[in-house]
Symmetry: C2
Subunit: 392 residues, 2 copies
């Protein structure tokens, strides 16, 4: 077990109707702001009346509201610059994101950029380390990215399509997250499934580790993964099953607030490989992960089967034999069957990519992430090329 | 799944040698104090040199140190009054606890009392609700009570031997917890075992719930319990096994920082029943819990077997049958065998109580906690008397 520092100061306010508390929370936990920038996504929050309800709750506390909306999946740097300029122009000192990961990640990037004299991209490019940001609150509508409790933000630079993930364990964590599972009733099945694949990946990226003897973190991770797999079918059977939606929403937060990483080296190759798929082909992040992870696991079943075998036995319920490789493969089959059962693709052509430019993907991957990548095992371009080919 | 608010702002700094960072952490997270009150327990921290190392780290930051030491297990109100007086006399505005639960709980009570004009016992007596307290830091030396990450504090009033637990989800959580597993190498086996029983109880008090469909919180709780049971034998075989000590230390924090309670009603009858044993007979809290829990479970196996059966299957590895009652009993036998294997008693006479005054225990229990107690099932004095008798 490795040394670590862990702190999750986000206040989670979870349950039916909690969005009506947003104004009070903003006042209390975003340093009593006079003005707030509300960042939101497509039209659904507006059409459902959520945006209006939240704005009413915020203005009811005497806080003036400014808006930037229409943030798209795989959010881009242009909207971040726009938000930073708006905050500077009006001296806005607090940010509220209403939406899923793309909205919250954009809110974080704006919060960081306002407090920095240079180009906010310096943080994503690794030239600067985030130390301060405007305080952020969140009203979550899509359980997937876990951004409501994490210190992470992923932004794509339009120039060159570089999709880069930034992690700052302290500066970027939201001060509060308003989480009403009812707000997710109208999420379409495919988007729900993508969210589930994303949160599972957040746990698995941490679970596949070279660090030994991390039983407590393993136990938490395995318990979370099992609970997601157990609850998912109920949710697809009845999209307005409150308890199923609630469990999936809470799992998404736990998956990525760091608790599954305590005391160990993490992997994150699958996310990096998926980010290239998203950047080049514009696929949904969660669907991409459902394609990448089985391929990555298949490569590891050959070369480093111990953790894939444990995953198969403890999470996927494969009866243990003495054959790590065989158990690992059986686990991968069960994982693929699970993804398939919730409507996700498990191959590149299922994603709609018939003629993948694997050379380009590998080139961009190592350009962005370095020659050798991975925590569980170190992978070079020859290895990642093999993994991309296993997705076909 | 119920609504909830959850926030754990404690910064956990975990690993070898981290106590040398205490001064820096105190300066940064205890509001840059000029003076600090260090609360400690018996002689072991002094003899081992830990106290001196920590004091050096703190004074190295220009912070003046005051001390109150010799805090005993089942800590009492007299030492709290002493600490409050000392803080007021010297205008001390920050507290550092070095030790286990008794020390930290005392530190919390002092922190609360200094900021309150009346008698600090008002909070424990339920007359006042904690809202502010001096900031607290912790150097943990005994993994058991989980007080390093919780908002709880248990103090015994000498007059009448009332042992009362206070829970304040926000005011009492430490700002930071320094956690070096090496500091626990010298804990005697019996104390180590008591700590393990205590942390398991913290999870189980939350696990036994009437709330349905809390799979995520169940998954985390079951994973934690299984990991404790898996790691414990390694620790007793080799008390200086770093990884085993580290996992047990981290499990103790996770057991009681609230993550196992999110979204559900909790029980806490076993703790209440044990507190009376501790108050009247002065037994070690963890050992008392190892006696109470199997008795409580046996009563529940008869009257409400669904959760005890799930516990038996998911945590104790009992093969599932269609017979909840039978599976529950098999799980209880395995739990008792586990306690026994780590050197704990599972009956009152094993605790050294040959002629328990059960009438007195029941009377004091309901005097302190009310006529009807319990979250999993509601229990009156007739029921709790039966449970006390099942301990014989």
């Amino acid at each position: 077990m490795n040394s670590f520092t862990y702190c999750t100061p986000t206040r989670y306010v979870f349950g039916q109707g909690v969005e009506s508390e947003t104004g009070r929370l903003a006042k209390e936990y975003l340093e009593n702001p006079k003005k707030i920038l509300i960042v939101s996504g497509g039209n659904s929050a507006r059409k459902s009346g959520l945006l209006e309800r939240v704005i009413k709750s915020v203005t009811g506390e005497g806080i003036e509201v400014f808006e930037i909306d229409g943030i798209k999946p795989n959010p881009t740097d242009d909207r971040v610059y726009e938000g930073i300029a708006l905050c500077r122009k009006h001296d806005i000192r607090a940010i509220l994101g209403i939406g899923g990961g793309s909205v919250i990640d954009t809110a974080k990037a704006i919060a960081l950029g306002v407090e920095y004299e240079g180009d906010f991209w310096d943080f994503y490019a690794g030239k600067q380390s985030p130390e301060k940001a405007l305080p952020i609150g969140v009203v979550l509508t899509i359980p997937a990215a876990g951004s409501e409790g994490s210190g992470n933000s992923v932004i794509t630079k339009l120039d060159g399509l570089h999709k880069i993930s930034l992690r700052s364990d302290f500066a970027l964590r939201p001060k509060f997250a308003v989480m009403n599972p009812e707000l997710t009733y109208t999420l379409p099945p495919y988007q729900t499934a993508c969210g589930i694949a994303d949160m599972m990946a957040h746990i698995m990226e941490r679970y596949f580790t070279p660090t030994e003897n991390v039983e407590v973190t393993d136990g938490i991770s395995e318990g979370l993964l099992r609970s997601i797999i157990a609850v998912a079918p109920r949710l697809f059977k009845d999209p307005t099953n409150y308890d199923a939606r609630a469990n999936i929403m809470w799992a998404g937060t736990m998956a990525h607030n760091g608790i599954c990483g305590c005391g160990r080296v993490e992997d994150w190759v699958s996310h990096a490989m998926e980010h290239e798929l998203s950047a080049v082909y514009g696929v949904a992040h969660g669907a991409g992960l459902a394609v990448v992870f089985p391929a990555w696991l298949t490569y590891m079943a050959e070369t480093a089967p111990s953790r894939p075998a444990r995953f198969a036995r403890q999470v996927m319920g494969v009866p243990a034999t003495f054959d790590d490789h065989g158990d690992a493969l059986a686990g991968i089959e069960r994982l693929k069957a699970f993804y398939y059962s919730i409507g996700l693709p498990v191959t590149l052509d299922g994603l709609g990519i018939d003629n993948p430019d694997i050379e380009l993907l590998v080139k961009k991957l190592h350009e962005n992430k370095g020659e050798i990548i991975g925590g569980y095992r170190k992978l070079d371009a020859a290895a990642t090329e093999k993994i991309y080919r296993l997705m076909m």
